[in-house]
Symmetry: C2
Subunit: 169 residues, 2 copies
């Protein structure tokens, strides 16, 4: 079982992402479902984040995913909100809508309700992409309660971003 | 100087808002600027919040306020992003776009940068409205650092909501 990241370690990770974006003169936008704003909160906790953070969408309902990010209703119905297809569409929709170079999207089941046999609580899909970088998606299965799943999801999303921003230099 | 609210007191307030919405069978959406997702995070920290929370927009840039909430560019230029007019438009735009009965919007200067003589750091406008309730807006001037201003703003926004939901019963 992975340790639940502390406030401090999440803050450190968010700062690292912000510093890389600032150094590159680039901006990011976020689209969150199960993390419910934790990622955008961590990024905008940082003073001066308006230089590199553009917008954050918490698309909790399927309507919001469709209307704000252009995820097709057909994808949401066929693959579900927690799927590779949906987070890929979320990233692509965000990159299309927002004047940013980078985007990250998260959709998962934080629990305690909402789990099923094939998508148990803790199942989280994360997608990352950039205007000059293909979208990549990963599936995670996190242990722990709602708070732990949300924190582990935010950590994985930020860590992936940090890697992308490092690799793309 | 007002005491900075603790995590616990903000959580208690968010739970009270959620319980009232659940009891009424109604939904809410949020639009945040300076609080950067703190309010949506507090609301979606609550298990089962998808029953009464629909979407949360962190419209950090002026582009996002215009594109996602329909705040006219003219309003943003004339009155500024931190103004009565802008938060009123944010609430109205949210109520128009999202299938919800209630909306809250926050725009302010959390600092440490961004303050001016007539809008010092700590200046925060909050707007509340509902499909059956007129939009009301209030101006606050909070003391403290970035974290304190964000927490005090979230507290004021949630307290105002709780009052509205109580009054409207």
């Amino acid at each position: 079982m992975t340790a639940t990241p502390s406030d401090k370690s999440l803050q450190t990770l968010a700062c690292a992402v912000g510093e890389r974006l600032l150094a590159r003169g680039q901006c990011i936008a976020t689209a969150e479902s199960c993390t419910g704003g934790l990622i955008v909160k961590l990024l905008t906790d940082i003073a001066g984040s308006s230089a590199w953070f553009e917008r954050g969408l918490v698309t909790y309902s399927n309507d919001a995913k469709h209307e704000l990010l252009g995820v097709p209703a057909e994808t949401l119905q066929r693959a579900g909100a927690v799927s590779a297809e949906t987070v890929q569409e979320m990233v692509q929709g965000l990159l299309k809508a927002a004047p940013v170079q980078w985007a990250v999207a998260v959709s998962g089941i934080a629990g305690p309700g909402g789990g099923s046999a094939d998508k148990p609580v803790g199942t989280v899909w994360i997608g990352w992409g950039g205007t000059d970088a293909a979208v990549s998606v990963s599936r995670f299965l996190f242990d722990g309660d709602r708070d732990a799943v949300r924190r582990l999801s935010a950590e994985a999303a930020l860590r992936g971003l940090e890697g992308l921003l490092q690799a793309g230099q």
